[in-house]
Amino acid sequence: MTPGMPGMQTPPPAPSATAPQSPAPQGGTAVNISDFKFNPATLTVPAGTTVTWTNQDEEPHTVAAKDGSFHSPAMDTHATYSFTFTTPGSYDYICSIHPFMTGTVVVTK
């Protein structure tokens, strides 16, 4: 099998075409979903921040909080989902389609 990257030919030159992706810019508000991973896996933001997830995979993914506080619909390729975190705390989430994918948003005061 050729480990190609189907679905990645479209304009936005996704930074995910090569394997180990280094952590996303510190202090950002974006989470990239690529190769069935949330990147960064842990994002720290101040309360009131809107975090945006973008799916770069050919497979759909969701973002679903373990405590139920947010749950995106299925995001197809290049689709995004945003959620505004108002309450400080640590929010673990999964992709409900591929629940072995896990991530955390830490919201500070």
Partner: protein, 310 residues
Amino acid sequence: MSTEHDPAGMTRRQLIRHSAWFGAAVVLTVAGGEVISHIAGSADAAQTAKPALRFAQISDSHIGFNGPANPNVADTFNQAIGQINGLGFTPDFVIHTGDLTHLATPAQFDQVKQMLTDLNTPHVFTVPGEHDSTDDAGQKYRQAFGAGTRGDGWYSFDIAGVHLIGLVNTLNLKKLGHLGADQLEFIEKDVAGLPNDTPIIVFSHIPLFAMYPDWGWGTDDAAQALSYLKRFSSVTCLNGHVHQLFSKTEGNVTFYSATTTAYPLPAPGQGPAPKPMTLPAGKLHDALGIREVSYTKGQQALALKDEKLT
């Protein structure tokens, strides 16, 4: 107890990998492009007597997918339906083992439901895939396909002396497929009154065996469900989800993963994630297919015939 054949076309190294994953019991015969899976010793008699039950399985149509791995999943699904209609007999029923849709939208449910009406069979049964229950715990799925089911969409029925159970293991996922306490109780009660020699067939989307847990290819509480089926002499579990053929026998239970009508996924652990594989031009149909299943009275095992999409 278990037999292992070297499936044609599989390299020695791949075979070793298979053995390492699963430990035992792969029985696959490849003949003329078809893969015929069966329990050793059962096939000859099964071919001469008339089957009491014959049905077809299709899986993972992913209506709504439009990536390069298959730019037209509706076309290939229609071809699979046509292939079933051309089998030369009317199947007693057709089972679709989930991921009917890609994104669980109302339009995709409408489309796949409409397409399934083209099947020439008295009954179409389904179980949901995780793509059919992404964000609403399966509500839209049940609106489309849940008539006559119980709980979150599970059910059982009997045809020709065979007891068939359709399970839902794509809700409340933590890492693997999950059945849940209510459904486990349903299974226990459902089979309680059946004689031990009743053939049992179980449908689920996600495998009920640990095919590759790192990618979610297993069901966390399947052992409990299978414990209720231990006393039966013949138990066959048919699943989808993994988009490739595989079989495994554990004691009285044989598991068969089906292929897809949409696009292939990598073999377990090949690559970083179970993402759609784009095959070279002209190769896609070889990875897709349908399955015929028949049961002949007096035979312990079912006869399965997996056919590539033509």
